[in-house]
C-alpha cells in the first residue's frame, strides 16, 4: 500500500495545523509517513500545498500521484487534479467547486454548526480519516494531545461531523506504531542537545530558523543558552567565545547568513577553536528562493573563509543521519579543534518522516580536553606536536595557566609574530590536522546492487528519492546502485574508486545546476561522471522524476 494526501490552499487557512494533525495521526495508526511542504515565501495568500505520503513500508520522499486532494481553494484543484490517481478523489467545500469527481461537502457550514467556521479543516480531517477506512480513535487522541484546551471541543466536534458525512472509500487497517515523526531541523537540534551543546545562537533565516527555535524551546529544560543575536557575524564570533571558554557551541543559518560568518569561520581555523555550524541550504544566489530547496552551497562551504585551514563538511542524508552526524560533528570539532560544517537543505529540514526513535545510548561525548598537569612555565596553546593537535585547556581551570588565542599568526603561546619560520610551522601544523581528518572520514553509503553497472553518485538529502527509485529499478532487474555521500569534505575516494571500475556508466544526481559533486570527484579521485541528472528549479526530486530520468538514460 502506498497513499498520498495533498492539502492545498492559501497561507493562513490553517493548513499547517491540519497537516500536522493528519501526519501525526497516520503515524499513530502505524504507517510510515513522509510529509513534504511546498510553501511560498509569504504569510497570507498565495498557493501552498502539503503532501502526506504513507505506506506500510518505510517511505523516504514524495510521489507525484495523489489519492486524496483536500482543496481549500479552487486553485488547488486546478493545479493538482491532473495528478490524481484513477480512483482518487478531491474533497472540497461546496463553495469552492462542484465539478465531477469532486466530493463537494458542506464543510464550512458544518464547521459553523460545530461551533466555529475555522474548524473547517477538522471537518476535512474527519472525512479523510473515514474515507481511508480508519477508526476515529487515534486521530481524536492526537487532537487531544496537540490542540489547545480552548479550541479542542469545537475541533473534535467538527472532526466527528466530518467523519459521519462521508462513506468509506479505502479499507486500511492500523498497524503497530512505536516510531517517531520528526523533520531534519528538529533532528539536528536534538542531536546538538544530545551532544551536550550548551550554547546555540543564530539569526532567523528560512529554512534554518527551526533549528534555533527548537533549541530555544529546550533551552531552559536542558540548561542550553540560546539566543537570537543581532546578526550572523555576532553568532559565529559568540559561539567561538563560548567554545574557547569550554562550552560546546553551535550556530547555523542558510547561505546568506553563512556568507556573513565566513570571516569568523576563518578565525575558527586559525585560533583552532572547535565549533559546529549548520547550513540549511536554500536556492541562491543572494536571497534566491527563500522557502525552497537546493544543494548549491557545497563548494561554498568548502571554500568559505579566507586563507587555508582544515575543516570538515558533512552532508545530512535523512533525519536519522541528521541526528547522529550532528552528535559526531561535536566530537570531531573538539578532537581536531576545527570548525565542522553540516549541510542540510530545505527539503530535509522541513520534511517530517517516521523513523526508529534515536538511540541516545549510542551517543558518545568525547571532549579531548587536556586535564592532566601541565609543564612549568607559560601554557602553549599552540604547542607544536607530532599530530598538529595541541593540548587544549579551558581558561580558569588551571591556577597558574592562562590561555591565549589569536587571529594574527602566532607562536606556540598564541602571541602575535611575523617570523617566517614560525609562520611556516603553524601552517604545517594546521595542515597536518587536515591530513589527519582523512582517517576519520566515512565512505558513502552503497545502496542498490553490490557492483552496479549503472553507478549513481549523489549526496545529502537526494538519498530519499534515489533510494526509492533504485528499489523500483532493481525490481526490473536493472543493475543499478548508488554511492550516497554524507562525509563530503575531505572527500572519501575508496569506494568510488572501487565501484567505478566495474560500472558501465556513472550517473551524477544533484539538486543544483553545476554538478558540484562531479567536480569533487574529478578533483580528488580523478573520476568523472558520464551522465548528469540535475534539478535546479527550487524543488526537490520526486521518486517519479528520478525514476523517469534514469530510465531515459539507462535505455
Amino acid at each position: 500500500m502506498n497513499y498520498t494526501v495533498l492539502i492545498g490552499g492559501a497561507a493562513g487557512q490553517g493548513m499547517d495545523t491540519l497537516s500536522e494533525l493528519l501526519t501525526k495521526s497516520l503515524k499513530r495508526y502505524g504507517f510510515f509517513v513522509f510529509k513534504h511542504s511546498d510553501y511560498m515565501s509569504r504569510v497570507r495568500g498565495g498557493h501552498n500545498f502539503i503532501q502526506i505520503r504513507f505506506s506500510d513500508k518505510p517511505v523516504y520522499t514524495y510521489e507525484e500521484n495523489i489519492d486524496i486532494i483536500f482543496a481549500l481553494n479552487k486553485e488547488t484543484i486546478d493545479l493538482h487534479k491532473g495528478r490524481l490517481k484513477e480512483d482518487g478523489i478531491i474533497l472540497a467545500d461546496k463553495e469552492v467547486s462542484e465539478e465531477n469527481n469532486i466530493l463537494a461537502l458542506d464543510l464550512e457550514d458544518t464547521a459553523k454548526n460545530a461551533g466555529n467556521s475555522r474548524a473547517m479543516t477538522s471537518v476535512g480531517m474527519g472525512s479523510i480519516i473515514k474515507m481511508l477506512g480508519l477508526k476515529s480513535d487515534k486521530a481524536l487522541k492526537v487532537m487531544e494531545d496537540t490542540l489547545k484546551e480552548s479550541i479542542l471541543d469545537v475541533n473534535m466536534n467538527a472532526f466527528s461531523k466530518g467523519y459521519e458525512m462521508v462513506e468509506k472509500r479505502f479499507n486500511l487497517d492500523s498497524m503497530n506504531d512505536g516510531r517517531i515523526l520528526i523533520d531534519g531541523n528538529t533532528a539536528v537540534a536534538m542531536g546538538a542537545a544530545a551532544a551536550g551543546c550548551r550554547y546555540y545562537c543564530g539569526y532567523p533565516m528560512t529554512p534554518s530558523t527551526t533549528v534555533l527555535s527548537n533549541m530555544e524551546k529546550w533551552s531552559h529544560g536542558l540548561g542550553i543558552f540560546t539566543e537570537q543575536v543581532e546578526d550572523e557575524v555576532a553568532a559565529l564570533n559568540m559561539a567561538l567565545g563560548a567554545s574557547y571558554a569550554g562550552v560546546r557551541a553551535m550556530t547555523g543559518s542558510s547561505g546568506g547568513g553563512i556568507a556573513l560568518m565566513s570571516e569568523a569561520l576563518s578565525l575558527a581555523g586559525i585560533i583552532e577553536t572547535p565549533v559546529v555550524i549548520i547550513n540549511v541550504q536554500r536556492p541562491g544566489p543572494a536571497t534566491g528562493l527563500p522557502t525552497r530547496t537546493e544543494q548549491a552551497d557545497l563548494r561554498f562551504v568548502m571554500h568559505s573563509g579566507h586563507g587555508e585551514f582544515p575543516r570538515m563538511v558533512i552532508s545530512l542524508r535523512n533525519v536519522e543521519d541528521a541526528f547522529y552526524q550532528t552528535t559526531r560533528a561535536f566530537n570531531l570539532a573538539e578532537k581536531y579543534q576545527i570548525p565542522v560544517i553540516l549541510l542540510s537543505d530545505q527539503y530535509l529540514a522541513d520534511g517530517a518522516t517516521t523513523t526508529v526513535p534515536f538511540d541516545f545510548k549510542k551517543v558518545k561525548i568525547e571532549r579531548f580536553l587536556h586535564e592532566e598537569k601541565l609543564p612549568e612555565g607559560r601554557y602553549k596553546r599552540y604547542e607544536l606536536t607530532e599530530s598538529g593537535v595541541s593540548p587544549r585547556i579551558i581558561p580558569g581551570k588551571f591556577e597558574d595557566k592562562v590561555v591565549l588565542v589569536d587571529s594574527d599568526e602566532h607562536d606556540e603561546y598564541g602571541n602575535i609574530t611575523e617570523s617566517a619560520q614560525v609562520r611556516k610551522d603553524m601552517v604545517d601544523k594546521r595542515n597536518k590536522k587536515g591530513a589527519l581528518l582523512e582517517s576519520e572520514i566515512q565512505e558513502p553509503w552503497l545502496i542498490g546492487v553490490e557492483s552496479p553497472e549503472n553507478l549513481i553518485v549523489c549526496w545529502g538529502s537526494v538519498y530519499g528519492p534515489v533510494k526509492e527509485a533504485i528499489e523500483l529499478l532493481v525490481e526490473e532487474e536493472i543493475s543499478i546502485g548508488a554511492l550516497v555521500y554524507g562525509d563530503i569534505y575531505p572527500f572519501p575516494i575508496k569506494l568510488l574508486q572501487e565501484k567505478s571500475k566495474s560500472a558501465k556508466r556513472i550517473i551524477d544526481i544533484e539538486n543544483n545546476s553545476t554538478a558540484q559533486l562531479d567536480g569533487l570527484m574529478r578533483q580528488f579521485a580523478l573520476i568523472k561522471s558520464d551522465i548528469k541528472i540535475l534539478k535546479y528549479d527550487g524543488r526537490a526530486f520526486s521518486i517519479d522524476e528520478v525514476y523517469r530520468r534514469l530510465k531515459e538514460v539507462i535505455e
Binding site: 550548551r198 567565545g241 602571541n415
Partner: protein, 282 residues
C-alpha cells in the same frame, strides 16, 4: 613586588597613550586581587587590540570589530571569569557598531574599555568614527565630511547602566574608573582618551590635557539628564569620571539556569539528559 600581570614589552610607538592604559589595567586587576587565570581580555584588531599580548591574563584576540561577541560567549559560558572587552574607537564604534548597540541592550556583566585615539592607528591614520568633522587625515585629504559619533551619548541613550570617560594621562583616575567598571554588575562602558602620537596631530596629549576636567564631587551620576548633558559636552571642556551609574538586572540573571546554576562550562554532559525530548515526537 612584581606585578602578576607583567609579560612582554609592548611594540607601541614611544609616547603612545596605550602604555598608560595597560599600566592602569594591570594595576586595577592587581588591586582587585583577581587572579590572572580568572581574567580574560577580549579584543578585536588594531593597536589597542594588541593588549592581550602584553598582559599575563587569558586572552582572545579576535577579529576587527568583533571584540564584544566572543566576550559575551565567554561570560555566559563561565560567569566566574572577569571578562574585559577592549578595543579601539574604529573597532568598537565603526566595524563593530552593531555589536556595541546590542551588547548595551543585553546588559551583560562585562567591562568594555575603548581606547579612543580618534583615529585609525594600526592602518596608518585614516579617519575613525570619532575623528572630528573637517579633520585632515592620511586618507581624508580634504577633511572628514561626516559627523563624529558621540560614544557616551550613544551608550547612555541605548540604556547602558554604567557610562564613564577616562584619560590615559591620568593613571590614578583611570585605575579607579577601571576598577569601578569591573566591579559594576552589568555592562560598563569606559571610553578612554588615548593620544596617538603618530597619526593624530590634532587630538594630542596637550589637546586632551587642556580640556579634560573631573566631574565634581557632588555630581549625581544617577541623574540621566545630567549625564546626557555631560555626554554631549565635547568642546573646550570635556568631563571625565563616571557620568552615569545605576543598578540594573544583568542579562545572565534573566536565565534561571545561569543565575542559580553552576557556570555552564561546569555542567556534566550526558546524552541521556536529552532523551526525554523524544516524547513529543511519538
Amino acid at each position: 613586588m612584581t606585578c602578576e600581570y607583567d609579560l612582554y614589552d609592548p611594540s607601541w610607538c614611544p609616547g603612545c597613550g596605550n602604555y598608560m592604559i595597560i599600566k592602569a589595567l594591570k594595576q586595577a586587576l592587581e588591586e582587585l586581587e583577581i587572579p590572572s587565570h580568572m581574567a580574560v581580555i577580549v579584543t578585536g584588531i588594531g593597536q589597542a587590540a594588541k593588549m592581550p599580548h602584553y598582559i599575563a591574563a587569558n586572552g582572545f584576540n579576535g577579529l576587527h570589530g568583533r571584540a564584544l561577541p566572543p566576550a559575551i560567549g565567554i561570560k555566559l559560558s563561565n560567569k566566574d571569569l572577569t571578562v574585559i572587552a577592549e578595543s579601539g574607537d574604529g573597532d568598537t564604534y565603526g566595524e563593530g557598531g552593531n555589536h556595541f548597540i546590542h551588547t548595551i541592550r543585553r546588559n551583560i556583566n562585562i567591562a568594555h574599555f575603548v581606547h579612543d585615539n580618534q583615529i585609525y592607528g594600526l592602518t596608518k591614520g585614516q579617519g575613525s568614527p570619532t575623528t572630528a568633522m573637517g579633520q585632515v587625515t592620511t586618507l581624508q585629504y580634504d577633511g572628514v565630511k561626516v559627523e563624529p559619533v558621540k560614544p557616551l551619548a550613544l551608550s547612555l541613550t541605548m540604556g547602558a547602566g554604567f557610562v564613564a570617560r577616562g584619560f590615559s594621562g591620568d593613571i590614578p583616575q583611570l585605575v579607579e574608573l577601571m576598577k569601578e567598571a569591573i566591579l559594576y554588575s552589568g555592562y560598563a562602558h569606559l571610553d578612554i582618551f588615548q593620544p596617538c602620537v603618530v597619526w593624530n596631530k590634532v587630538n594630542t596629549f596637550q589637546w586632551y590635557k587642556d580640556r579634560v576636567y573631573k566631574l565634581p564631587e557632588d555630581y549625581d551620576y544617577t541623574d540621566f539628564n545630567a549625564a546626557y548633558k555631560k555626554a554631549m559636552e565635547f568642546g573646550d571642556k570635556i568631563p571625565t569620571g563616571i557620568l552615569f551609574k545605576v543598578e540594573k538586572e544583568t542579562y545572565e540573571d534573566r536565565f534561571e539556569f545561569i543565575k542559580n546554576g553552576p557556570p555552564l562550562v561546569d555542567a556534566e554532559l550526558n546524552p541521556m539528559d536529552a532523551e526525554k525530548l523524544l516524547n513529543d515526537f511519538y
